[in-house]
């Protein structure tokens, strides 16, 4: 930008044909006007880029950022998260068509040391997670600071924080304001207070926004999605116009977020490569390559020299003294050498067990299928896809021609906006769901009372925008998603085919009962036949149709037998889930990957989400 401004001035001057001394003086003067803005100032002016583009999104994004932080903190500390969440309308907002909304999120996480509070809630890009290559929900350290900025801009109040670590006697309470000029959090009204929980953090925002409960971008959909992908979380929530509710955890183990692996040389650019070297100081290049990267072994170093013609002395030199030419030669050689693909161990998934248990918290479902694909390398990054498909019992029966409900997740965070451009939706629409027994218009989402939940987990998800609303639809990713969806579709169709056979049998038996008497009666009427003839014909008809029914019953028994064998095969793979179900629900004939819950999943007195 600065360059551009200087250019502009130069051009203007030359047009006016001033003397060269005047030109230089003007350029210098205008150069003095070029200022530097802080990161905070940039984001404060561009909040729409990070999810604050409308009052509805402002509420959802704030809630999402607070909840993500809580869940990440709990997982990092190995604590089973118990979250309390409140969203309430306080009155009219200062902006047009908005309300003043209070958002409160409390967790039982490890708490934050008082000296870190200002950084966490009041400073952009201050994060323990940035670029570390782990599958945490938060990555850059922008979200919660943006929420504080929005609260300050709309209601002139910062974030109210109460936090207590395990060793502290009292909780630390304060208000965090933003110093935009310097990208710093400023604490005020600091006090120490008593707090019942042994540790945890609560944050409260008052901001202008609008509460939208239903629909794809609605709060309830967000909660529903978060619940699905976090089976280890207990959530208490109170939202204006919704009865207070508690969703209990269904898994009692905290997922362990795998440690990041070292970067893979093929995922780097030259500049990154050279900067990475500087972190290692006075280290031999060969040592730096082996320690600083994954998949670089002694054999690879030999190949660099023998096959790619790299001078041996480059590897023996110290990396901090390596001239740029050698860096370029080294970079070119390592890009050309054959390496194993990046490791997939850094990917974290919910797992079929967890998904199977969690999906039953979404509502009264009568069938579901879940699938966890093995981690793969996609666009040269490790990635794992998980899919859950459930059919809602309450929406069945009434010729449901609505498109299925799609729940999208990236690193276990629900994505609720800009659905059409997302890789997940592109993959769903590209699958032929008709082959699996679902209705589907051409190039569109399938129809029916189903939920299709798709989760993409990767330490490096390619988002289309800073607000992380859409995953970029690369061909490789869409193909991986398609495979996962098709496998789930196959599992789904096994159940649907059995159901179809049963329905067919029922329909045929009904046919016999309904049409038999009509046929005989009409024939008798046309011919003026006697009662005896009609009775004989009715008996004859019953005999004929009974033979047919036997055949269909046999088909159905075969289909059920095949399904049972299939379930038996899968049972051993997910034994934990079956034990849980036996204790809890005494399910019969269920499958982890294609199961039929025998009763609604919720506990008495607690509502569905």
């Amino acid at each position: 930008m600065a360059k551009k401004q200087v250019k502009k001035v130069t051009k203007k001057v030359s047009v006016e044909d001033d003397s060269s001394a005047e030109v230089i003086s003007r350029v210098r003067k205008s150069a003095k006007q070029i200022t530097t803005s802080s990161t905070a100032e940039y984001f404060a002016k561009n909040l729409q880029q990070v999810g604050f583009s409308s009052p509805v999104k402002a509420v959802l994004t704030t809630l999402k950022e607070a909840l993500d932080n809580s869940l990440d903190a709990c997982e990092d500390a190995g604590i089973l998260p118990e979250i309390r969440l409140q969203v309430e309308k306080l009155g009219p907002g200062t902006l047009k068509n908005t309300d003043q909304i209070r958002i409160y999120v409390e967790d039982n996480g490890p708490g934050i040391e008082p000296e870190d509070v200002a950084k966490v809630f009041g400073e952009y890009l201050a994060s323990s997670k940035f670029g570390r290559g782990r599958c945490s929900r938060g990555q850059q350290g922008i979200g919660i600071s943006a929420a504080t900025t929005w609260a300050m801009q709309t209601t002139a109040t910062g974030a109210r924080v109460v936090t207590k670590t395990k060793n502290a006697r009292k909780a630390f309470k304060c208000v965090v304001d933003m110093d935009l000029k310097n990208n710093k959090g400023v604490l005020r009204d600091k006090t120490n207070v008593d707090w019942t929980s042994p540790h945890g953090t609560s944050i409260e925002f008052k901001l202008d926004g609008r509460i939208q409960l239903n629909g794809e971008g609605g709060l309830l959909n967000y909660i529903r999605s978060t619940v699905l992908l976090n089976p280890h979380m207990t959530l208490h929530y109170e939202i204006t116009d919704v009865a207070p509710n508690t969703v209990e955890r269904v898994v009692n183990t905290v997922p362990v977020v795998p440690q990041a692996t070292e970067p893979h040389p093929h995922t780097m650019k030259l500049g990154e490569f050279m900067s990475h070297a500087r972190l290692f100081g006075r280290t031999k290049t060969s040592v730096w390559l082996k320690r600083g990267f994954s998949r670089v072994t002694d054999k690879v170093l030999q190949d660099l020299v023998n096959q790619k013609g790299l001078k041996r002395k480059v590897l023996d030199s110290f990396v901090d003294a390596l001239p740029d030419e050698d860096f370029k030669a080294l970079f070119a050689a390592i890009q050309a050498v054959e390496l194993l693909p990046p490791a997939t161990t850094s990917v974290l998934s919910v797992g079929e067990d967890g998904l199977a248990l969690s999906i039953r918290r979404l509502g009264d479902i009568d069938f579901f299928a879940v699938l966890s694909r093995k981690p793969v390398i996609c666009d040269f990054k490790p990635l794992q896809v998980e899919v859950a498909v459930a059919r809602l019992r309450e929406r069945r029966g009434e010729d449901n021609e609505e498109p299925v409900q799609v729940l999208r997740f990236a690193n276990r965070v629900p994505l609720q906006f800009d659905k059409a451009a997302c890789a997940i939706v592109k993959a769903i629409t590209s699958v032929n769901w008709r082959a699996y027994g679902l209705k589907q218009p051409r190039n569109a989402l399938p129809l029916g009372p189903y939920i299709i939940a798709v989760s993409v987990v990767s330490p490096f998800i390619k988002f289309k925008n800073a607000s992380k609303e859409t995953i970029d639809a690369s061909d490789e990713l869409v193909e991986e998603l398609r495979r996962a969806l098709m496998q789930t579709g196959q599992r789904l169709s096994r159940y649907l085919s059995r159901e179809h056979k049963a329905g067919e049998l029922e329909q045929r038996v009904q046919h016999i009962e309904q049409f038999g008497p009509i046929l005989v009666e009409t024939l008798g009427r046309i011919l003026g036949a006697s009662e005896e003839r009609k009775q004989a014909a009715t008996a004859g008809l019953a005999k004929i149709l009974e033979k047919d029914t036997k055949g269909i019953k046999k088909d159905l028994a075969d289909a059920e037998g095949r399904l049972a064998t299939y379930l038996e095969e899968k049972k051993s793979r997910l034994s934990g889930f079956f034990e849980g179900l036996e204790q809890e629900d005494q399910l019969t004939g269920t499958d982890v990957v294609a199961a039929v819950p025998s009763k609604p999943a919720s506990k008495a007195g607690k509502e569905k989400v």
């Binding site: 046919h511 049409f515 008497p517 009666e521 009409t522 009427r525 047919d548």
Partner: protein, 392 residues
Amino acid sequence: MAKGQQTTKRVAKKQSEIISMGTELCERMLSDLERAKRPILTATKCSLDNSLYSPKVGYLTPGNKKVSSELNVSSVKKMSRAIFMLEILLRNVEISNINTKRELYYVAKGLVKHESKLRPLDFQDQDESDSVIDFICEMMEAYREELNCVADDRGGQTYSKQLVVVETELDGNQSTVDLSTLGTAPYQPKNRPQNLQLKAKSKIDFCLIIESQGTANTLVANGFTKRHNCILIGAQGVPSNAVRAWVRRIQEQLRVPLYFFGDLDAYTMQNIYRTLKAGSAASLIRNSDFCAPEVKFLGVLPEDIAKYDLVDYPVKESDLQEARALKKARDALTNDPFFKDKKNKDLRAILDWLVKNKRRCEQQSFISVDPRDPQMMEKILIDKIKSGNYID
């Protein structure tokens, strides 16, 4: 003549014949049921793969393929519906009542509404009841008109200064219509052309059937029928039963040359001209009375485009209907016995030209030859007839 093709002229079925055929069918079914034997309903297969064509016969006739439906749990619904509809049709024949397919749909709906036992038979839409009526006709090899089920009299509006039509009504009364007294208003032929007797007041030189009703109107308004001793008919797209039977009546009773003039495209060639000249595969059992094998193709011919410098344009394959017509044309070249026959090699050549060149030219393009001359189209048509520039 194609192997197995029947040449005997079909004789119209009388009302009593229809009733006894229906009763026999029902008797056979009831007897089978009494003996716990599965009744079988058999109908002529009306499709292209069961169509035969011979230039001597002149139209598509059914082969030996039959469609059989045996009673089982899957077909019991279809059979019950067929017998239910047959009862309605037989009653109509008995009391000389006439209904359209749409009316029969509502008759059936009404009966179901007032008799709860019949509720499972209810038709969800007219397509369902239409297919049951068609099945009954194919089973009995009867025209729907013989079952007193008539279609809307669509298309076929006729203009002439020489033609006189004598109609014998159902009650036996006769009425005479002299088309020259109608001014520029058309005569509308009926679905039962068997009741019509045609006479010519003076010599009629030809009969011209125009695909577009609008273009036929324009020609009449510009005085075509005043200047030429002819019959001018607007087909209004795909010829309805009324049009097909009406042209057949003209062919048989007046013995005048018949010419068809329409667009140069695959749809017109297969769906309009072929149906008018040789009938259709869907109506194999009725083609003998519902097509006019002597009708000639006057144009638009591919050579007309260059000869008259006509406006033509490429076929839009993105247009679903046009793409479908083109695909159907490719199939017709290999499967349609009409286009496969040597006698129709010139028509086949046109279809081939259309498939290869993917261009089309509309009948109205003749107007563009000289837009200031309102008689330009007339002049070209007469020129083409006189010079024999058509395909027989």
